[in-house]
Symmetry: C2
Subunit: 323 residues, 2 copies
């Protein structure tokens, strides 16, 4: 399954705002449409944002647009996920070397999806038969294609016949867990239960969680990880309860230019995402909200980072720069 693909010059995306109750395809005919899809979260998840941006560049190239302008339009959509900038730079460099942008974008997409399969292989070894795994947000096929990042080891373990159970944090405010991860688990047939984000600690303390696996939006050189808001709380509580906490991400998510997670720009989105839940207003008229979309989990709470080239301690991230 692909969250995004390129067909006859059109960038096509599963409209993730509509899932799980409606399955609709969003068609982006211009780089501006592609930028809208990223900004409004038709597509989300760091690797999928990267792939979408690569297709957006290919579309601009086919339409003989000014590529510096297309680059800027796509860049100024969301500030946190590193894959966006990684993909745009990959495309710009390839095009400047005279490459076919459509082929480059397809190559980028295939390579990320293949990397996620390897993340699955590397992470699967950490999962024992009978494990109950907690995940936050959606770092699944909808965030990448096929395997996902955090879900790659989970899918691989399931397909290898291990009996597993997944705790799905609903992940307010945008409910990517309840809407998207639960939908993916159901499609795959993996046993799962959705919980309010507030309940993760309860089940951890009760001994109901054997490990946590989450995705990442950007990883700094010191091993700090930016991911969906709430990840930090889960990591601290997992640490307090001696539960292994893993991050799964391809190298495209690593930003070696940043020495610390505190340097990662954190997007603050519209307060309406908090004041409303789907279409229902939940807060009194006149009340305001704050809505940071990501937080930074310091390296000390992270057991390991599962990548396409192996599982590393956060303290080993620095050395990956040289690879």
């Amino acid at each position: 399954m692909r969250a995004v693909w390129f067909e006859d010059g059109i960038v096509k995306l599963i409209d993730q705002r509509k899932l799980p109750l409606h399955f609709e395809i969003f068609e982006a005919s211009t780089p501006e449409d592609v930028a809208f899809a990223i900004k409004e979260m038709v597509v989300r998840g760091a690797p999928a944002i990267g792939i979408t941006a690569a297709y957006g560049m290919a579309q601009g190239w086919l339409q003989r647009r000014n590529m510096d302008e297309v680059f800027e339009i796509l860049k100024n959509t969301r500030p946190t996920a590193h894959d966006l900038f990684y993909a745009l730079n990959f495309m710009r460099e390839g095009i400047s070397r005279g490459g076919d942008a459509v082929k480059l974008a397809e190559e980028y997409a295939e390579s990320i999806i293949e990397k996620c399969r390897k993340i699955g292989e590397n992470g699967e070894k950490l999962i024992k038969d009978g494990y109950r795994i907690l995940t936050h947000c959606n770092a699944g096929a909808l965030a990448v294609g096929d395997w996902g990042t955090a879900t790659a080891p989970i899918r691989m373990a399931y397909r290898n016949g291990k009996k597993i159970f997944v705790w799905v944090d609903e992940t307010r405010p945008r409910l990517q867990g309840a809407r998207l991860t639960a939908w993916e688990m159901q499609q795959e047939g993996i046993e799962h239960a959705i919980i309010a984000d507030n309940a993760a600690g309860y089940f951890m303390r009760k001994g109901g969680v054997d490990m946590v696996i989450v995705g990442a939006d950007r990883i700094a050189s010191n091993g700090d990880v930016a991911n969906k808001i709430g990840t930090y709380e889960k990591a601290v509580v997992a640490h307090e309860n001696g539960i292994p906490f893993y991050v799964a991400a391809p190298i495209s998510t690593f930003d070696f230019s940043l020495s610390s997670g505190d340097d990662i720009p954190i997007e603050e989105r519209s307060e309406d995402e908090v004041l409303f839940c789907r279409e229902c207003r939940i807060a009194p008229h006149g009340s305001r909200a704050r809505n940071p979309a990501f937080d930074v989990t310091p390296a000390k709470y992270i057991t390991g980072i599962i990548t396409e080239i192996g599982v590393f301690k956060p303290s080993e991230v620095e050395k990956l720069k040289k690879l």
Copy 2:
């Protein structure tokens, strides 16, 4: 403001399921109606549940019902909040001594509300000018009457002219923070912002939270506190960030018969509270959910417990038994 009152033999309640967008009064004409109101959360919050049960007993007494039966009907509503059992025992003992049940219930309600005023006085001293206070769920006037428990020190500080700001955790799944606490803060004119529960840790780590004050549903002899699901996570993350974490509760919430919080029965409510957000279904059809309504915060994460007779360390709870 009262969340519940007794008028012409009818127990009247602000229907807290409808707030903040609709203000409606729910009228309970029989103890069965009262039990329904407690169970379905027309009224919620430990002290208010206690007061409602006291009125339910008074109503049964006026209607010349079998009081053992009325006691059982009201008792078998919600299992966690200690005030429910405390109020029912207070009423049964008073009635068995030949007391007027209506007067007893009014006396109970007045005494709880007066205790909350004292909680406000005792807790207010902990709040410095300029403090940004985080609260979870609703332990406000709607959970007690007038002052509330966790909100009593906040209201008192505000009325004394201290400049304060309140972070309101929305508190999924029932959204008592976004719906009820925000509404109370707005009515009182206290500056506040609603946040997704996931964002509390973000603001704590950023240095944006000076203290946390929450209510309690039951406190064990060792100082462990059962409160709304998510409280445990907030306490662990506050502790990790060196932020004082206070619990505000009247002595009626203390259950000295339990030596540890692990003995407190935790209610698990309908999975629909997680699968739906207000009227909107958010999860795929076929996915299941788990919905524990409370969690237990171990004493070690709690800085102090603010009561009507003073502020105590959790380790001092045992000695309060002798008072």
